[in-house]
């Protein structure tokens, strides 16, 4: 595979949920995009736009109603194991095992991936070093602070050094300092050639670290491209303005602080 070929291929992903009112809800509607190695792709949109559903379909956690996603050429529904081996997955809701220490937790996921003992130990030391986890690597996860938990979670996602990272709100609820650490880490991983799909509410952060953007609204991609392209398309400078322009209606947007879409 050529280095510039897309490693994540998302083609016409659609997910229809039945609702309790008896209707159908199109959580994602024909979402398509590609991500190349080294690229940080920002999948942005308001709440309920379908970001999480799309990411879950890419990760193989949800079965698409139609369309498909390929991870390094593998379909996560058909070649489950091979496809999932390509993937590090991190969301705001992913939890940790309360009664394991970060070190044990990483070891567990390393074993599940199938890493041998030596490789596991080396990788764990590496990650603890990188993410500055030394101080708490032998404490039980249940007692860690939010920031420490998120760092452990990131380490967990990176344990197998997968070529693709899916990060759904990785900085939600973090303090400024940890936020910095996480963003720096994403940037560094991108520079190391990983394909990263980042979904976030924090448009300012996204503006800084993402190479390319997919703006999603009501389950549909309403705009795609790098910042210059999007600026040209809408005539707006800031990502939040671009976003408002593309979504057309502002009813869902801008209730929170500056640059935060809720």
């Amino acid at each position: 595979m050529n280095a510039t070929d897309p490693i994540v291929q998302v083609h016409e992903l659609t997910k229809i949920f039945p609702t309790t009112e008896g209707d159908e809800k199109r959580a994602a509607d024909g979402v398509s995009f590609n991500v190349r190695p080294g690229e940080i792709y920002g999948l942005l949109g308001p709440n309920g736009a379908g970001k999480t559903t799309t990411l879950r379909m890419i990760a193989g956690l949800l079965t698409p109603t139609s369309g498909r996603a390929l991870l390094a050429g593998y379909d996560p529904r058909l070649d489950r194991e091979t496809a999932k081996r390509q993937l590090g997955y991190l969301t705001a809701s992913t939890g940790l095992y309360q009664r394991l220490t970060p070190r044990e937790l990483l070891n567990y996921f390393g074993e599940l991936i199938g890493m041998d003992r030596v490789a596991r130990l080396r990788r764990i030391d590496e990650l603890i070093e990188w993410l500055d986890m030394k101080a708490f690597s032998d404490l039980r996860c249940g007692g860690l602070s939010t920031g420490q938990k998120q760092r452990t979670n990131i380490a967990r996602a990176l344990m197998g050094d997968p070529p693709i990272l899916i990060m759904d709100e990785p900085t939600l609820g973090l303090d400024v300092l940890t936020n910095r650490v996480v963003l720096d880490f994403i940037r560094a991983e991108g520079a190391r050639g990983k394909a990263i799909i980042l979904s976030t509410h924090y448009l300012d952060d996204a503006e800084v670290i993402c190479n390319r953007f997919g703006l999603i609204h009501d389950g549909r991609i309403v705009g795609e491209g790098d910042l210059p392209t999007l600026r040209e398309q809408t005539g707006n400078r800031r990502l939040s303005e671009i976003f408002l322009a593309l979504c057309g209606e502002s009813e869902h947007v801008l209730e929170g602080g500056e640059g935060v879409v809720r």
Partner: protein, 781 residues
């Protein structure tokens, strides 16, 4: 990385995590090791102190007059004198063996001494009723002399009335004691009277009995334990399994770690297998600790003595009665010798018993633990499956309640019914079979084959539960709570059309129908009511269970009816071949069932067949054929070759599905002896349905199988035309069937299999069903 090493990885991690959990440790360690012995000891203390209190308690008895008081006191004094005399005699007999005399005294002590009964005279005799009723006195005794043939040697006869209160335990005790004392008094008087009339008491003891149990003392102890221990162990195992089952499924989802597991490259089945292992391990650890603690308490804490005393009391009472009879009669030296010999044996047994208790417990513990494993496996699986449905810890706890009841209630029922034996259907009834098995293991009477059947069936249920758990666990609507509620899984308007039911749903339906079918068959069937009595359950089960239920569900779930029930028109050639098979099927299945019966040496089904034939004698032939051939031929095909097979085909190869359909079909015919034949027939019918892509050829074969035997019998009995019966070999049915194949049978078998082969060759079954993920989209809204 291999499948097993990954299951091991999951197992290891979950076990560590579970063992680090305070709540698990609480249920697993604290309860058995600390709380349990403490409770037991408190119970022992309470029991013995209650006993002591009883001995010191005073009972107030009221009588109407001073004379009656004197009479009653006289009776009590007689009783006391007799008790003391017995004690002296016994001591003389046994020497000063402390243990032995203590044991006998234990018996004597249950009689109230005169010191304990305080007798008062009522101020107003008409108030006796109210005095007892109000609780001021525990009992009232009113005596009246009856004018009878009283002579010089005896008092006159008396009528004694005892007033007591049912609601006061003390009153019940004292009235019981008074009854006993009075009947002893009566006996004394009888003895005096007889002696004065006959000159000797020998006439009173025409037969002297003495009972000696041949069961070894440890088994007797086991009998006492067998009644309570299985129940306790079942409760403990279930409690032990419950917490990890909830924590490893619903708990994991609630904490958000399930998502991380779901994205890791491990098949759900392996994750579930590892978790299942942990649940079983914890359940077994809990059981082991409980058993160890129980053993220790029984051994050191005195509970054992209480149980053993109760046990010994049962045997001692008989012996004591014999002794009493003999001691009354020291004139017979021979009987005294016999008594002493008897006594010697009894003492040996008591000594052995002391040692036996210890060895028995040591021997029983491993056996009991082994028998707990299948139970733990079953409930581990069931709990895992049930908890997999729950999204939160609390939800799971609610689901656990019925599961726990389904374990504890059968255990309780079995505990209260010590005569239930492990045989027949009971060997395969989940939970009940294990509880009974445990009791039988305790008592040491069991057959290897029954035990094997018990264990195999339990493991089968457990496997089904684990497979179900694995299916549910990975399901997306369970994985994410925001994907839609269960309502959307159940209400028709949310259901999406499908070609066939899912395999697990089809199996589930038949699993639910099974006990209902069993119940209807046994409750509605009335062989005494002639052919209508036999027909009623058949009509009900066939129409309601096998036809209406699957068809309704298929409609409700928006399934493709034509595909689910294979309602396509078959080719003419297949219809013709099915008729050929149908004409040959009766002798073939008869041959098979004869061989099976010969193999098992069973005559049971024969007797039933005759009963059936008798019941049907006066039935109109058309109605008979309709009820016993046409109806089952159509309805059962709808359920088994239709709904079940279509479901299984979704996740199994065609032949594999046919085998399972046959097996389930066989099991539905309840009697073990019928299972092999019906299962084989079921497989053949499933193959016919698969190859021809139509239900109807199978319906024809099925109707012929059920109907032609009836027709032949009817012809030979009513029309005296024996040709068809002779042709099929129905005329020479014998009580003891012979194994082997006759020439006629092999010809029919050849025809049957030949037609089947022709169907196979001339058919082109549908291409394998496409997997659900790539099935075409239903039209958009």
């Amino acid at each position: 990385m291999g499948r097993y090493s990954r299951i091991w990885t999951v197992y290891k991690k979950e076990l560590i995590e579970t063992l680090r959990d305070r709540r698990t440790l609480m249920a697993m360690v604290f309860v058995p090791i600390v709380l349990y012995p403490v409770l037991m000891l408190v119970l022992v203390q309470a029991l013995s102190s209650e006993k002591g209190r009883q001995e010191q308690r005073e009972y107030r008895v009221v009588v109407p007059t001073e004379t009656q008081k004197q009479w009653l006191e006289g009776v009590l004094a007689n009783e006391d004198a007799e008790v003391i005399a017995w004690q002296k005699q016994l001591e003389a007999l046994h020497g000063s063996d402390a243990a032995e005399t203590a044991n006998t005294r234990e018996q004597l002590r249950t009689r109230l001494g005169s010191a304990q009964i305080k007798i008062a005279v009522a101020d107003d005799p008409s108030h006796l009723w109210d005095l007892v009723r109000s609780g001021l006195f525990h009992a009232a005794v009113i005596t009246r002399e009856i004018e009878a043939q009283a002579d010089a040697a005896s008092d006159g006869n008396r009528l004694v009335q005892i007033l007591y209160s049912d609601t006061s335990p003390l009153s019940e005790v004292v009235s019981g004691q008074l009854n006993r004392i009075l009947s002893n008094e009566a006996e004394r008087q009888i003895r005096t009277r007889v002696e004065s009339l006959a000159g000797s008491l020998d006439v009173l003891t025409p037969v002297i009995t003495s009972n000696l149990s041949t069961t070894s003392p440890d088994r007797q102890f086991a009998k006492a334990l067998a009644l309570i221990v299985p129940f306790l162990l079942v409760t403990m195992t279930v409690t032990g399994a419950m917490y990890p089952a909830i924590d490893l499924t619903a708990g994991e989802r609630e904490r958000g770690t399930l998502e991380t597991l779901a994205v890791s490259p491990v098949p759900t089945g392996q994750i579930v297998a590892g978790k299942f292992g942990v649940i079983v391990t914890i359940a077994m650890l809990t059981t082991t600790l409980n058993l160890a603690s129980m053993t220790a308490v029984i051994h050191y804490g005195g509970i054992g003595d209480i149980i053993a005393a109760g046990n010994a009391a049962a045997t001692d009472l008989d012996a004591a009665a014999a002794e009493e009879a003999l001691l009354e009669n020291p004139a017979q030296p021979g009987s005294m010798e016999w008594l002493q010999k008897d006594h010697l044996q009894r003492r040996q047994r008591l000594e052995m018993e002391k040692a036996g208790k210890a060895t028995f417990v040591a021997e029983a513990v491993p056996v009991v633990l082994l028998s707990m494993i299948p139970f733990a496996v079953l409930f581990g699986g069931v709990m895992l499956a049930v908890c997999s449905f729950a999204r939160t810890f609390k939800e799971a706890q609610n689901y656990m309640m019925p599961v726990m009841m389904s374990a504890i209630v059968p255990a309780m029922v079995v505990s209260y019914m010590p005569t239930i034996e492990l045989q027949g259907v009971l060997t395969v009834i989940p939970v009940a079979n294990i509880v009974i098995l445990m009791r039988e293991l305790f008592l040491g009477n069991f057959e290897a084959s029954t035990v094997a059947l018990c264990l195999i069936s339990t493991c089968f249920y457990a496997a089904a539960a684990v497979v179900t758990a694995a299916r549910i666990y990975g399901n997306e609507s369970v994985l994410f709570s925001d994907v839609g509620s269960y309502k959307t899984l159940l209400q028709r308007k949310f259901l999406r059309p499908a070609t066939a039911p899912s395999a697990s749903f089809a199996i589930l339906l038949l699993a639910v129908l099974f006990p209902i079918n069993f119940y209807v068959q046994s409750s509605l069937g009335d062989p005494m009511a002639g052919w209508q009595g036999l027909a009623k359950p058949v009509v009900v089960t066939q129409l309601l269970l096998f036809a209406a239920t699957p068809i309704f569900l298929a409609w409700y779930m928006k399934l493709d009816l034509v595909n689910t029930f294979s309602l396509r028109m078959p080719k003419l050639i297949h219809l013709a071949l099915a008729i050929v098979m149908g004409l040959a099927v009766v002798p073939v299945s008869l041959m098979m069932s004869n061989n099976v019966r010969a193999w098992f040496g069973s005559e049971q089904s024969m007797a039933q067949f005759e009963a059936l034939a008798k019941g049907l004698e006066d039935a109109p032939v058309l109605a008979m054929i309709l009820v016993f051939a046409v109806l089952p031929g159509i309805c059962e095909e709808f359920a088994f070759r239709g709904f079940l097979q279509a479901g299984l085909r979704k996740s199994m190869a065609p032949l594999q599905a046919a085998l399972v359909v046959g097996l389930v079909f066989g099991i539905y015919h309840i009697q073990v002896i019928k299972i092999p034949t019906t299962a084989l027939l079921g497989v053949v019918l499933a193959i016919v349905c698969w190859r021809t892509r139509s239900l109807w050829p199978g319906v024809i074969v099925h109707i012929c199988n059920n109907g032609l035997a009836l027709v032949a019998q009817w012809l030979s009995e009513k029309r005296k035309d024996h040709r068809l019966a002779d042709l099929y070999g129905l005329s020479d049915l014998t009580i003891t069937p012979a194994a082997g194949i006759t020439l006629r049978d092999s010809i029919f078998l050849a025809i049957f299999l030949g037609a089947l082969a022709l169907i196979w060759i001339t058919s082109k079954p549908e291409a394998a069903l496409q997997s659900a993920s790539s099935s075409p989209l239903p039209a958009a809204q």
